[in-house]
């Protein structure tokens, strides 16, 4: 199947070249970081985690959101998602690879990374995060490969894939829950020490992930013959709408508990995040943008006449992804550290080298995604004789295992 | 065969790459083992020479875990002698200059030992062949 990625238009190769170039620049910058140390980033003694871990947190959500497509399709036989499922699974693979890369560039002594396996530490949530993330990657690779090979051959997929698909559903939820547990069990950081952190993560994941899928679907429809179908995209829009509402609701719940109880330990972090603290407010403009984008997205998503127009849905999806990327990334991670346990306000902002490395990793993920989607398009065209596809009925035809369950 | 030209070219490139260490090292690497500075007075290490030659890193790793993790201090050698488990305190008492002993051999063997990042008092020390040549 990989040979499908080796033939393509000039646009395809240009995209791969650009992404590869970004990866090369990012890699070269990473070599510099290896030689000098993490001091080239904006991190500090008071803010030990920043851009890299923020991207990890956001991307784990994107990876987990594949379940939002897999669950309706495989568990409830929602046929409209027939063509979307593979896009979701491939997006999950790309996202998990980026997560693992972001963890790798964040550790101070990467040559000792094997210690994570040589000295397993089941009391550490980071240990479990490593297990569930790698397991999810393997699961998605195995599942997508098996179902795709079957599709290409026109046969039902092998029987052992079905239990794996069922397993991937709670596993998807678990990767984001475990990542939330990294934060929500720390007595040292009252901003994160809340039971609603894991539900917040899941809600924002189920908004941002499907929103990304909407954008990718619309893009694929424009640049290739692959079309997940209008019903699938519309349903994704509904999922994004509900998830975004729940997410904003959860944020409001957090704000209420912190502000109404007026406990300084909790209020301080929210004050820093949205208003600035003691004259320090680097994140305030970002959060204003995030809030504005969230409001815009909610308006566009909650009015059905607006949401059903795909152009508007695209704008709303961009707003959702942007708003949540800010909120869950830098917003959540950095604010946990300000003020510090000793009450100091030391801010954080990523440096240029740090940003270049992050961009390089995003480019690597983009590279993986492009290649995988190219394969998906290629296989689909081949399986259906190269012609244009309809929707529901054709989807059922290409997914004969639906009849098995 | 199809694409014969491309295949032969590819094989040629592969052959060059895979033999690179050989023709890169000609005239640049050192053929014979390096001259190691032996300790001035001591004739016998804490364990037999054959053992030390083969397994000194295992010994040092065991010392590392014993001192740091088990709070032990004393190594009782196979001949019953007691020694303090310390790279700088015991080993370097006889092998005074690691640059002329440890690092020289490690550079020749191409095995980087990064003990010297921490366990030595000079400001900088060449810890690998690359750095010995003055590379960053």
């Amino acid at each position: 199947m990989l040979e499908k990625a080796l033939t393509g238009s000039r646009r395809y190769w240009t995209l791969l070249a650009v992404l590869a170039g970004l990866v090369a620049v990012g890699f070269a910058t990473y070599l510099h970081q290896l030689s000098v140390g993490l001091g080239i980033t904006g991190l500090s003694r008071d803010v030990p985690w920043g851009l890299y871990i923020a991207q990890l947190t956001f991307l784990v959500g994107v990876a987990a959101s594949a379940v939002m497509v897999v669950l309706p399709y495989y568990l409830h036989h929602y046929k409209a998602f027939g063509k979307l499922a593979i896009l979701g699974e491939f997006l999950a693979i790309s996202a998990v690879i980026m997560c693992l890369l972001f963890v790798f560039v964040d550790i101070g002594q990467p040559r000792r990374a094997m210690n994570l396996i040589l000295y397993p530490s089941p009391r550490s949530i980071l240990f479990w995060d490593m297990i569930v993330l790698n397991g999810y990657l393997v699961l998605n690779v195995v599942i997508s490969r098996a179902t795709f090979r079957a599709e290409r051959a026109g046969t039902p997929p092998v029987r052992w894939v079905k239990p794996l698909i069922y397993l991937s559903i709670p596993w998807a939820v678990s990767i984001h829950t475990v990542t939330a547990f990294l934060y929500s069990g720390l007595a040292a950081r009252p901003f994160w020490l809340t039971a609603i952190l894991a539900p917040r993560f899941l809600a924002s994941a189920f908004a941002a992930g499907p929103a990304l899928l909407v954008l990718l679907s619309l893009l694929l429809r424009r640049v290739s013959t692959f079309d997940p179908g209008k019903e699938a995209v519309a349903k994704l829009g509904e999922i994004v709408a509900y998830a975004m509402v729940v997410n904003v609701f959860f944020v409001a719940l957090e704000l209420f508990t912190a502000l109404y109880s007026a406990i300084p330990e909790h209020v301080e972090h929210f004050t820093y995040l949205y208003l600035g603290l003691h004259g320090h407010g680097l994140l305030v403009p970002w959060m204003t943008v995030s809030v504005a984008l969230a409001v815009v997205s909610l308006v566009l998503l909650l009015v059905p006449q607006l949401r059903r127009r795909e152009g508007v849905l695209a704008v709303a999806s961009v707003a959702v992804v942007g708003s949540l990327w800010i909120d869950k990334g830098l917003g959540m991670v950095v604010t946990g550290f300000v003020p510090s346990p000793l009450g100091h306000v030391n801010e954080y902002w990523p440096t240029l080298p740090e940003t270049v490395i992050a961009l390089g990793i995003y480019a690597a993920g983009g590279l993986v995604l492009t290649v995988l989607y190219k394969i998906a398009i290629g296989v689909r065209e081949e399986a259906l004789g190269g012609g244009e596809v309809g929707q529901g009925a054709a989807a059922a035809e290409t997914r004969p295992e639906l009849k098995v369950a | 065969m199809h694409d014969a030209g491309k295949i032969v070219l590819g094989l040629g490139v592969f052959g060059v790459l895979v033999t690179a260490p050989v023709w890169y090292g000609i005239g640049r690497g050192k053929g014979e083992p390096p001259e190691l500075q032996r300790p001035a007075t001591a004739k016998q290490c804490i364990e037999p020479t054959a053992f030390m030659r083969a397994r000194h890193m295992e010994l040092l790793n065991e010392w590392r875990d014993a001192v740091v993790r088990d709070a032990d201090r004393v190594y009782v050698a196979s001949d019953g002698q007691h020694h303090e488990m310390s790279l700088t305190g015991t080993c370097l008492r006889c092998h005074e200059d690691p640059e002329k002993f440890c690092i020289r051999c490690h550079a020749y063997a191409g095995v980087e030992a990064f003990c010297w990042d921490c366990h030595q008092k000079k400001r900088t020390m060449a810890v690998s062949a690359r750095r010995e040549r003055g590379a960053p």
Partner: protein, 258 residues
């Protein structure tokens, strides 16, 4: 073709599994073993008591900090964001925020208070370390293994007291003077006070305590809480003591006489 590949993979898997049963850690040499030093201080539960009043009698004194940082090659980093410190003074209002009121005069709120790793009974840093590079010793010390640390900084995140420092760059250029015998660290690892474990192992008390006694102040007392006759036990019996953030359940073992 499929069958041959499958059986090859099975064979390879079995071979790998078989090879991994070869014991990795072989006994080193017959008769060789390691043991504790003859003078090692043995305690059931090491702890420290800091007498604030005594400490404050000498304005601007920091002999304890100097002694510790000098002997342990703690660097002075040019970039304040990369600061490394094991023992230092903070304003009282930041260390004990629940003991200041809106009416506390500034001079009291800002009085310098010594802070360091608290060597907790229930340390969150130990819980989160994914490689057990930091662990709790039976005698109470929370230790650091600089060789194993991968520099993930989860312990720095998890410490409620801000006691830990990460080496963002090579610390050697920041050394104040020539390095001592204590190993320096390398970039990418976390470090903190270890109650001078290397000195306890040879029968000596922590440097900060000795430095403070050396100038005749004696604000720092170190000892074994498992020994009712030790000075720390006596101090805890006879005085009202405070600990940092006790409500978090970490059970710190650095006690303050305020």
């Amino acid at each position: 073709m499929t069958m041959r590949r499958r059986s090859f993979l099975k064979l390879a898997g079995l071979g790998l599994a078989g090879a991994s049963t070869v014991p990795v850690a072989q006994a080193l040499v017959r008769g060789a073993r390691t043991e504790a030093g003859p003078d090692a201080l043995k305690g059931k539960r090491w702890a420290m008591v800091i007498d604030e009043k005594k400490c404050l009698t000498r304005g601007g004194c920091d002999v304890c900090v100097q002694a510790c940082h000098r002997a342990h090659n703690v660097p002075a980093m040019a970039n304040p964001r990369h600061e490394v410190k094991w023992l230092w003074k903070e304003q009282f209002g930041h260390v004990f925020p629940d003991r200041v009121t809106p009416y506390t005069p500034a001079v009291m709120k800002e009085r310098p208070t010594l802070v360091l790793c608290n060597h907790c009974d229930n340390p969150p840093c130990v819980r989160v370390c994914p490689t057990q590079s930091t662990w709790k010793r039976a005698d109470g010390l929370v230790m650091m293994d600089m060789h194993r640390c991968i520099g993930c900084r989860y312990c720095v995140v998890a410490c409620p007291y801000g006691s830990r420092s990460f080496n963002f760059e090579d610390p050697r250029p920041g050394l104040r003077g020539e390095p001592t015998d204590y190993p320096t660290r390398t970039k990418g690892v976390v470090e903190k006070c270890t109650f001078c474990a290397e000195r306890l192992a040879v029968g000596q008390r922590p440097l900060c305590v000795e430095a403070c006694e050396g100038i005749g102040c004696g604000a720092l007392t170190f000892g074994d809480l498992g020994d009712p006759a030790s000075p720390v036990s006596a101090l805890l019996r006879e005085n009202d003591v405070a600990r940092r953030k006790p409500e978090l359940g970490t059970s710190p073992h650095v006690f303050y006489l305020l």
